[in-house]
């Protein structure tokens, strides 16, 4: 199982790294690795030149740094919750096993 988990993790890393190597900055220019939603916005503007969007976001992160802070916060909260649960179950099971060993 440990081997399988290691391979799975390596697979995820490889899938994130390979695109970085495959796509050259010369090909894409400034837009390299921008969001697919930005590309969709551009596509909409090509399909409907002058399209006025219904509404702008109520609040936008004032800079890219703040935005990445909030995305980082989101994943930290998620990873924290997940790791708390895994640690809780693992600890509970081990605690029980130690009790048995002591008896």
């Amino acid at each position: 199982m440990r081997v399988q988990n290691t391979l799975l993790a390596l697979g995820v890393v490889a899938l994130a790294v390979i695109p970085l190597a495959l796509v050259s900055p010369a090909q894409k220019g400034d837009e390299i690795f921008s969001g697919s939603d930005d590309h969709a916005t551009q596509l909409i503007e090509r399909l409907r030149p002058g399209y006025q969007r219904l509404m702008a976001p109520l609040w936008e992160p004032p800079s890219n740094e703040i935005e990445s802070l909030l995305f980082g916060l989101q994943s930290a909260l998620g990873a924290g919750a997940l790791a708390y649960c895994l640690g809780y179950w693992r600890g509970r099971r081990h605690g029980r096993r130690d009790d048995v060993a002591r008896d």
Partner: protein, 224 residues
């Protein structure tokens, strides 16, 4: 990536909202019943929600030279079913719309439909069919998570195509263009989500056998 704030006509916003609302409402009912009958499942729900939070915050590079993020819906769907995961997906979308200017409030109905509803019901269908026909557990899990991820973005593309038909090719022509933006970018990310789902479920099955009893068989703990 979800449909951006304001980029759907009002009629579409209302339409998708109307379609999504009953799913989320019924999901809230299922969720409160589940937590009342089985308070222990609160922790497992935290794990499923946590997984969705992490995965939908991870913007990953793709072979198309643009970035998108996975959805993290399949994992929790296997544990809690599609109705409850519709609620979890909805909560993530609200969080991202309000705090990250990612997705939006006017497009919340459409995005809820693609990620939280279509995504979770697809994962659920694949999971049930895969188990019924006896596919290996991890293969089924991988397929449920990755196809659900990919399908979410196919639905997003179709939603945009319906709203912005191509002047020449019509809805179908626009669908091809939007699929080119969203779906192709998503292919490697969907594979990543499948791999991560199997990985985290392996950890859960190794360490939390009793918490997932009845849903998935526990694994013998490695190295002990």
């Amino acid at each position: 990536m979800h449909i951006m704030e304001g980029y759907l006509p009002a009629a579409h916003c209302i339409g998708w909202g109307t379609v999504s609302l009953p799913f989320v409402a019924w999901g809230v009912k299922k969720l409160s019943d589940r937590l009342r009958d089985d308070p222990e499942s609160r922790l497992l729900l935290g794990a499923a929600g946590g997984f969705t939070f992490v995965l939908s915050a991870m913007k990953l590079p793709s072979v198309t030279g643009s970035c998108s993020h996975p959805t993290g819906i399949g994992f929790g769907t296997v544990l809690f079913g599609p109705w409850i995961m519709s609620v979890v997906g909805f909560v993530v979308l609200v969080f991202q719309a309000l705090l990250l200017a990612h997705g939006g409030l006017t497009t919340l109905g459409a995005n809820t439909f693609s990620m939280a509803i279509a995504g979770s019901f697809t994962a659920w269908a694949i999971w049930r069919v895969g188990r019924a026909v006896g596919l290996p557990l991890n293969v089924t899990l991988f397929l449920a998570a990755s196809v659900s991820d990919l399908l979410t973005y196919c639905v997003t593309s179709l939603q945009l195509a319906l709203a912005f038909p191509d002047p020449v090719g019509g809805v179908a022509g626009a669908a091809v263009k939007f699929l080119g933006v969203f779906a192709i970018t998503q292919v490697p990310l969907a594979i990543s989500e499948g791999l991560l789902t199997v990985l985290v479920m392996n950890l859960l099955r190794s360490h939390a056998g009793e918490a997932i009893a009845g849903v998935l068989p526990a694994l013998k703990e490695a190295g002990r």
